[in-house]
Amino acid sequence: MPRPSPQVEEPAGGADLLCVCRDALVRWGKDARRTASLMVGQPDYEIYVAHAEATHPDQPPLDRTAFFRLHEARRFGAGGAFRCC
């Protein structure tokens, strides 16, 4: 188990606390969504786009549908999709 990171500054008022809670919820929601997608073999599209723009700014990245279909084909293609008994 990781040790808890050093405490961040405690928020001053109620509004800030609300913000912190909302941010945490949004983050959890994103993580849950990402986990669920990866469980069925679909990695995160936004991360792919960010990566593609950073490393190959000259080429347009795949669009969302093409990205989806690529991974769908790959999950059940040769060498992929080992599922446990």
């Binding site: 405490q7 969504r33 669920a36 469980m39 991360i47 990566h51 060498g79 080992f82 008994c85």
Partner: protein, 710 residues
């Protein structure tokens, strides 16, 4: 937390942390010891399932905190500064550094399957205690070690597969043997899983309808994600789940219908042939149409059902009805034949240790790992969760009245085909139930009969219905929950069968490509259809013989599957031992060598017993001999009705014997090659392991790229 703490002297904080760890884990150890003592020493009255849950969680916590950390630090020497394949090759597509929680979910979903749900249910015939002990000890010392070790090895080798690693670390011949071994295991797994579904759906119109309904539902979902709203997995899954629930509710009406009820009441053999036809079609048509959408349903339903079962057990806190140990540890049990040693350790494969995980830990997971220091969480931690699934399955089977358990799991040949004969048979074993109660239970779950439904799925479904109806709906909802449980198991078994058929097909194309290069073309329709037909024919053969077997098929197929699966685990652990020797870490090699030796003892003993045991219920050859003698004397033995049937039974016995001998050959050659590789590595005084170089050995250009990326 007081603010001054963060400024405290680091030495002090370290000591405080140590003290706190000692206190927390000391308390966990004491609690775990009490729970284990209650489980093991309790006599007479039934105990609460919560004790088993507590014991399991304490064992996992201690193992994860101490043993996994020991494995990471001392045995493997994980290095957080060493770039993982995901960092090294980050392409945003296949190699993507992934947050550990997300990756944990992905890995767990990939390793959790039907295995940990079926094995413990079958093993419950020996009582709950042997199963619980093996699931806990096996997972902590063998299963999780194997998963973690394979993940570690694959991470250090750019995410290469198990077969590849065997080839590079042990040589080309063991590489090919391992590849053929994996193919044999796949065939047996597909056959046995398909058999579980057939056993659950035979003569059950409600179950057959709901499972059949998943096909049009999945096709609708496939068209939806293809043409209407491409890539919207979330919304289409929600629609799919709603349709599934409607199908379960509708199934009850269909079963009661005078026309549709009989139309969906299919015999085992019809279902087996339908499964083969379906498996062939599903793995040949484009994946987006059927395979991928059903994969969404089965994955999400699986995770949901596992969570639901956990919550259900905690809320209902059912009592265990099964004795701690039954007389059947001597091998005379009706569910599977063979004594506690070695057959318990073969029957519970997944959940304690599963060789199949080695294929997944060397699949996509290492390509997504962000940092080496997450290997304990992903490799070791996910296996502990899988083990907990097995514990829950065991609880679901043992909270049933033992009389019900044995009536459901004993073959017709032992308990007869009606409630009266079944009640009389289980009474002889000391478990009492009236025929009327058995019939009432069948009505409660919406079935004609619950007798002789070996295979694990129906028993687990009754157990789950028992627990879940305690949370929502009571007795009125029992039939719904029963068919929900059957559906969820059948759904993900079918997904495994189709996806597995495809994987097998690619493997066969690859192997046949050695002789006929044209077979390798995965786009060629001829090669595709030929290899798929071969795959379906292989598992279909075992499925069919299992269905017509008078002892229920599971009796002979499940041990074969267990032997195969444990054997693959032994191969993975042998590879781990070889790698530790080649890393010059041989003084820690016991961590993989000890479980490897234990699995070898179990698989070899079980394998030789299946071949040569004089008891016809256990030994394939003895069984064949008995039928041959009867045939020579002109007698017919049940279930054979003609001399042709007799010949077929004898041939099946020889096929099973040949397969067992094949498994024994694979594992023995791997031992020989493994020992030779270890001895060779010992004689050389520097590491000879074939890994990707560590960070500091990177070229200047690589480092420049790293800096640029940072």
């Amino acid at each position: 937390m007081p603010k001054g703490r963060t400024q405290a002297d680091p030495e002090d904080r370290f000591a405080m942390g140590k003290l706190r760890t000692a206190l927390i884990f000391g308390a966990i150890a004491i609690l775990g010891a009490i729970a284990l003592a209650v489980i093991a020493l309790h006599q007479g009255e039934s105990i609460s399932a919560v004790w088993i849950v507590v014991a399991a969680l304490c064992v996992y916590a201690i193992a994860y905190r101490f043993y996994a950390r020991y494995l990471a630090g001392k045995v493997m020497g994980l290095n957080a500064k060493r770039p993982t394949p995901a960092v090294r090759h980050n392409d945003g597509l296949d190699y993507v550094p992934t947050p550990r929680n997300v990756l944990f979910g992905h890995h767990f979903a990939a390793i959790a399957g039907a295995g940990p749900l079926v094995g413990p249910v079958l093993a419950a015939q020996m009582g709950y205690l042997p199963g619980v002990m093996w699931i806990l000890v096996g997972a902590v010392l063998a299963g999780a070690v194997q998963d973690m070790m394979v993940l570690f090895m694959s991470t250090r080798r750019d995410g290469r597969s198990l077969g590849d690693m065997v080839r590079t670390e042990m040589g080309p011949i063991p590489g090919i043997i391992a590849q053929v071994g994996v193919l044999m295991i796949m065939v047996i797994i597909l056959a046995v899983l398909a058999l579980v579904v057939v056993k659950a759906l035979a003569e059950s119109p409600w179950g057959t309808f709901t499972v059949a309904a998943t096909i049009p539902i999945a096709i609708f979902m496939g068209l939806y994600t293809r043409y209407l709203r491409p890539g919207r997995v979330g919304e289409v899954s929600v629609i799919g789940v709603v349709l599934l629930i409607l199908a379960i509710i509708g199934g009850g009406h269909i079963a009661a219908d005078p026309f549709w009820g009989p139309a969906f009441t299919l015999s085992g053999t019809t279902l087996a042939i339908a499964m083969m036809a379906y498996g062939f079609v599903a793995s040949v048509i484009p994946v987006w149409l059927l395979l991928a959408p059903r994969d969404y349903l089965s994955t999400f339903l699986k995770i949901g059902a596992i969570l639901g079962l956990a919550v259900g057990i905690l809320i209902v806190r059912p009592h265990i009805q099964m004795p701690a140990v039954t007389p059947f540890i001597d091998g005379s049990g009706p569910v599977f034949s063979g004594a506690l040693f070695p057959f318990l350790f073969i029957t519970i494969a997944c959940g304690a240790v599963s060789g199949f995980h080695a294929l997944i830990s060397s699949g996509t997971t290492p390509k997504l790992l962000e940092n080496e220091n997450q290997i304990p969480l992903i490799g070791y931690g996910a296996m502990l969760c899988e083990s907990f699934v097995a514990i829950m399955a065991l609880i679901a089977a043992t909270v049933l009245d033992p009389a019900v358990y044995f009536a459901m799991n004993s073959p017709v040949a032992v308990i007869g085909d009606n409630a009266v004969s079944a009640a009389a048979a289980v009474a002889q074993w000391g478990f009492h139930i009236t025929p009327a109660e058995l019939e009432q239970l069948a009505r409660d779950v919406g079935e004609h009969s619950i007798l002789s439904r070996a295979g694990g799925a129906p028993t687990l479904a009754v157990g789950m219905a028992h627990i879940l109806s305690g949370v929502i709906g009571g007795k009125a909802m029992m039939a719904f929950w029963y068919h929900f449980a059957i559906l969820f198991e059948a759904l993900f078994i079918l997904t495994t069968v189709d996806a597995g058929t495809r994987v097998c097909r690619f493997m066969i194309q690859d192997l046949m490509g050695v002789a006929v290069p044209k077979m390798r073309e995965t786009k060629s329709w001829t090669a595709n259809v030929l290899a798929t037909a071969l795959t379906v024919g292989l598992w279909g053969y075992f499925l069919y013989t299992g269905v017509v077997d008078p002892l229920g098929g599971i009796n002979s197929l499940w041990p074969l599957f267990g032997i195969a699966n444990q054997m693959l685990a032994a191969v993975a652990l042998i590879l781990g031992t070889v790698v530790l020797f080649k890393m010059k870490r041989e003084r820690f090699a016991w961590a993989t060598a000890v479980p490897a030796v234990w699995l070898l003892i179990c698989t070899l003993t079980a394998g030789f017993q299946k071949l040569l045991h004089p008891d016809v219920k256990i030994g394939f050859l003895a069984h064949a001999r008995k039928y041959q003698e009867a045939l020579a004397a002109g007698d017919l033995l049940a279930p054979a009705k003609t001399a042709g049937d007799m010949h077929r039974i004898i041939i099946n016995d020889y096929v099973n014997s040949a397969l067992t001998a094949g498994f024994l050959f694979v594992v023995l050659t791997m031992v020989v090659y493994g020992v030779r590789a270890c001895l060779k590595a010992r004689r050389i005084n520097h590491p000879t392991v074939v890994e990707q170089p560590a960070a500091h050995e990177l070229t200047l250009e690589d480092e420049a790229m790293d800096i640029a990326r940072a």
